[in-house]
Symmetry: C2
Subunit: 263 residues, 2 copies
Amino acid sequence: MKIISVLFLLATAVATCHGQDSVENGLEYQILPLRLKSGSGGQHIQGITCSSWRLAVETHNIINWKTVPQECEGYIGNYILGDQYRGDSKAVNREAYFYVRDLNLTKDGKNIWVFDIDETSLSNLPYYAENGFGSTPYNDTAFNEWVNLGMAPVLPETKKLYKKLLSFGIKIVFLTGRPESQRAITTKNLNDAGYYQWEKLILKDKEQYKGKTAVTYKSTERKKLEQQGYRIIGNIGDQWSDILGYSTGDRTFKLPDPLYYIA
Amino acid sequence: MKIISVLFLLATAVATCHGQDSVENGLEYQILPLRLKSGSGGQHIQGITCSSWRLAVETHNIINWKTVPQECEGYIGNYILGDQYRGDSKAVNREAYFYVRDLNLTKDGKNIWVFDIDETSLSNLPYYAENGFGSTPYNDTAFNEWVNLGMAPVLPETKKLYKKLLSFGIKIVFLTGRPESQRAITTKNLNDAGYYQWEKLILKDKEQYKGKTAVTYKSTERKKLEQQGYRIIGNIGDQWSDILGYSTGDRTFKLPDPLYYIA
């Protein structure tokens, strides 16, 4: 199965890409020529580097973009397969841990932390590695086929935070844009990735939120949680739409994601 | 005068730092050994790289920090003196231009754009280059001595945006945390830097906003502008406190600044 070999390749790439050429040695296939471009940011796109494009995306200056610029496919591939993506994820999750560690929480079982799923708790990198690292237009059918395999690997730095939060007695709520029809496979995938315990897993009712943005959907669902008596201590996601709007929580955390944008 | 030689050195450093060693050649003094550390992010600080620290700062994950980590002084110095800082600034200003270019604005003289001053319109880099690139604690006396020289250079990518906005008939409002007592020198410095025209220059009334955050001060002043009938088409600053709160404007833009944090 093709996806399996990609998973293997990804693991190998992540393990070996310290040397810029090593991923090209001894592998039957390669996802991309994983060479770093010269300079600090890879190739230029319309007068800016891919590095500047990525920062502008992460800081919500560039919004509503449809695809990674074609010229940046290689740069984004290198970034996301290499150490830096994991390091950037670690910096965010670690900061969330520092924040929660120093709180003096009421132990009444009402403290929750909201986690997004895709590119927050689980990674769709095997899919994106086969689809131009976000540089090709989103294909709903193909993406859902991938999700329905239930094989998305864990994002390890997020899982560390998840475990810490559980140890502090904070309950976990997963709030995802995935539809209700993917509840069973998502539950299985979360379990396989090492997420065994949660208070709620909220998936999108596609009828109710038809034509609504992710900001509206997620804000509405978070407000419901507050109305049920929960306190949202923290909220983490890879999209700005995970953490903007209302009922955002006492503090929000934005994980890196240069692969796609959801309004 | 010491500050002059620093200005010269900065110009030289910016002009020559493409070759990592060139800044060390032929200069009597050097601000820092401007070598890039190995890897994409410089040295490690508590298990994360300076590159990850910077991204987490720019994305508002790390907040309320007092100084640049000591280990990252060299990394931040390299970043801010090199091409990448200017490129990152360009990406943001360019996006602001794309946004405003495509608007269909009512031509009634009520459209304004809010500009922060320090590290947005003018650069205090000569000061920070002499003060550890943000790695030493903020010194109010020394910083104000620098400001009162009125020698802060322009941030060229911001000035490009400023000019474009004027050409679209949008009025400029400067809104700064600098106190009223610095109005004359700030006006002179803005003029010297090529900013000749504005609707308002709002400086901080230190009595009125004593003990208030920058978010409160700036939100209050922006709300007053709206009450006066202005429409805030855009709002640009280097601090999250420039663009959070209320009356933030139709769209906000966050310029890079890894040197200091203002709540």
